[in-house]
């Protein structure tokens, strides 16, 4: 009998993706770390490493705009994740308990928006929310309001946009863990006289906690440094991390500051990322 996976093949299967990730995933972050100790310059590229220093890091610590961006970003992403969990849990539950022949279609309907352009979906909300948009137009036509409501360019719109684009990320892992949960467990609890709220708290929720955690991390981590949503819905004053990097880079052309910010965000997100890795590895 020949070995199923001979050494040459093993080497290829492991080495190819690992080498690619080393060059195009690990090395870029090492490069960003190095450049964060440089200084902006007028040349091309617009930074210099001739006299390494902590100027970019000092800027990050001393200018309160970055701490402010950090706090609002984590707050926004956390709040949006909580709202998405409250909406997504009953949706996933309803799909998991729907007749088997409908489940596939119901799941595809959740996934379809995720496959559709992120940019276009956020643009669609601007069409609804802007002062001359559909919602304000309808409310004015009905005579309910006289002047248009300020529905976008504020924190509400950013939160709405985050919940909207990341909701499928919440529903899919929740569905996967709810589908594995045997309904007879809940029925047994009900037969023994437990109230619905008690059943949920003691049977359903504990069994689906890994799915809830996976969904929450899958949403919270990318949402905390989202760019498109605050850019399109947050208005000029929305000071969030994704935008801060973009502005350092394109507007201020301060590459060391952008690099330092990127490294700082990765370090801050390291905990949630490690937790997500462990959930994925256990799957």
């Amino acid at each position: 009998m020949s070995p199923l996976w001979p050494p040459g093949l093993r080497f290829l299967l492991i080495g190819l993706p690992l080498a690619w990730l080393a060059v195009f995933f690990a090395l870029p972050f090492a490069m960003a770390l190095a450049i964060s100790f440089g200084a902006p310059s007028d040349g091309a590229p617009p930074f210099s490493l001739d006299a390494p220093g902590l100027a970019a890091w000092r800027l990050l610590v001393e200018d309160p705009i970055y701490a402010d961006a950090l706090l609002s970003s984590l707050g926004m992403a956390g709040m949006a994740t909580a709202i998405a969990a409250v909406i997504g849990y009953p949706m996933a539950y309803a799909i998991a308990r729907a007749p088997a022949r409908w489940r596939g279609l119901l799941l595809v309907l959740v996934m379809l928006p995720f496959w559709t352009s992120f940019l276009v979906r956020i643009y669609a909300w601007t069409a609804l929310l802007r002062p001359t948009g559909l919602i304000n137009g309808a409310l004015q036509a009905l005579g309910l309001i006289e002047a248009p409501l300020q529905l976008m360019d504020n924190a509400f719109a950013v939160q709405l946009g985050l919940v909207y684009v990341y909701l499928p990320f919440m529903v899919l892992p929740l569905y996967a863990s709810l589908e594995k949960l045997d309904p007879s467990l809940e029925e047994a609890a009900a037969d023994l006289g437990a109230r619905p709220a008690a059943i949920f708290a003691t049977v359903t929720l504990p069994a689906t906690l890994p799915g809830l955690a996976a969904g929450a991390l899958l949403m919270f981590i990318p949402a905390s440094a989202e760019f498109i949503v605050p850019e399109m819905l947050g208005g000029p004053d929305a000071n969030l991390l994704g935008r801060a990097i973009w502005n350092e880079f394109f507007a201020n052309r301060d590459w060391p500051a952008a690099a330092a910010l990127a490294i700082a965000i990765v370090v801050l997100l390291a905990g949630p990322i490690l937790l997500f890795q462990r959930l994925e590895a256990r799957r």
Partner: protein, 266 residues
């Protein structure tokens, strides 16, 4: 579950779908509006679709994006399939933790971090090694292949987890050579996951604005970059028409993918 509880649950599900689809439906409907305004309907018209096809810059950006998406999806499928196979079928190997960890991190990494760090790599490599000589389609395709391979690997791993390794072991017991097993047993099993992975990688690439904005160069404007530039200035009825075509194409591709992915036990 009582009937009332079930009804409440389905009501929430319905509202959830309404939330997901309302904005998309508005775009589709207003892409056929003769007026550029969203507040009034002035009759059915295809003028925005006609204008779209006349828009030279848009058509060439779309062609560029399609080429980048096809190339990066193909690379991502090869890399993701290798990684998924290694993680699902090779039990112990050095670097397993690094491979699985890096792929999981890529799945959740905010795009802006991938974009900015990759650009810094490309700039430094150009300075040190003279490669890549310029940023454009190639650097965008490399960046897209990198984040998309994590999605392909996830799909491949999920597919292999459902399949019994005994099939491959039986082929080996019967004396088949490893290359033959891979070609005639493992890859056919994987085909649906590879097709779905390629399509997902393609749509992720063609939709990406943030990473491309960083790693592209002056000569290479992708479709999302062009769309972003025009919607930033305000509403653009042509974008409604483009979005409608986009949604149609994605719905068709997804139908194909579900068909392929759904054939589990044939």
């Amino acid at each position: 579950m009582t009937g009332a509880a079930r009804a409440r649950l389905y009501a929430i599900l319905g509202l959830g779908y309404a939330f997901l689809y309302l904005p998309i439906a508005v775009l589709v409907v207003f892409s056929f509006n003769a007026s550029p305004l969203l507040t009034e309907w002035s009759g059915f018209s295809l003028r925005w679709y006609v204008a779209l096809l006349d828009n030279r810059r848009l058509v060439s950006a779309a062609a560029l994006s399609i080429a980048i998406a096809a190339a990066s999806a193909s690379v991502a499928t090869v890399l993701g399939a290798a990684a998924g196979l290694a993680l699902a079928r090779l039990r112990r190997f050095r670097g397993r933790g690094a491979l699985g960890g890096a792929l999981a991190a890529l799945l959740v990494m905010p795009e802006i971090l991938t974009g900015v760090t990759l650009l810094l790599l490309f700039v430094a490599a150009e300075r040190v090694a003279g490669w890549p000589a310029e940023r454009g389609a190639l650097t965008v395709a490399i960046a897209h292949a990198t984040f998309a391979m994590a999605y392909v690997a996830t799909l491949v791993q999920a597919r292999l987890a459902d399949q019994d390794p005994a099939l491959e072991e039986a082929a080996a017991d019967l004396g088949a050579r490893p290359a033959d097993i891979l070609r005639s047993v493992t890859l056919p099993l994987l085909a649906p996951a590879l097709a779905a992975g390629w399509l997902l990688a393609f749509t992720l690439s063609i939709d990406d604005l943030v990473v491309a904005s960083f790693v592209s160069g002056p000569g290479a404007t992708t479709l999302p970059m062009l769309v972003f530039a025009s919607v930033r200035l305000g509403l653009s009825p042509q974008v409604n028409a483009l979005a409608t075509l986009w949604i149609l194409a994605v719905a068709l591709a997804l139908l194909v993918a579900v068909r392929l992915g759904g054939r589990r036990h044939d």
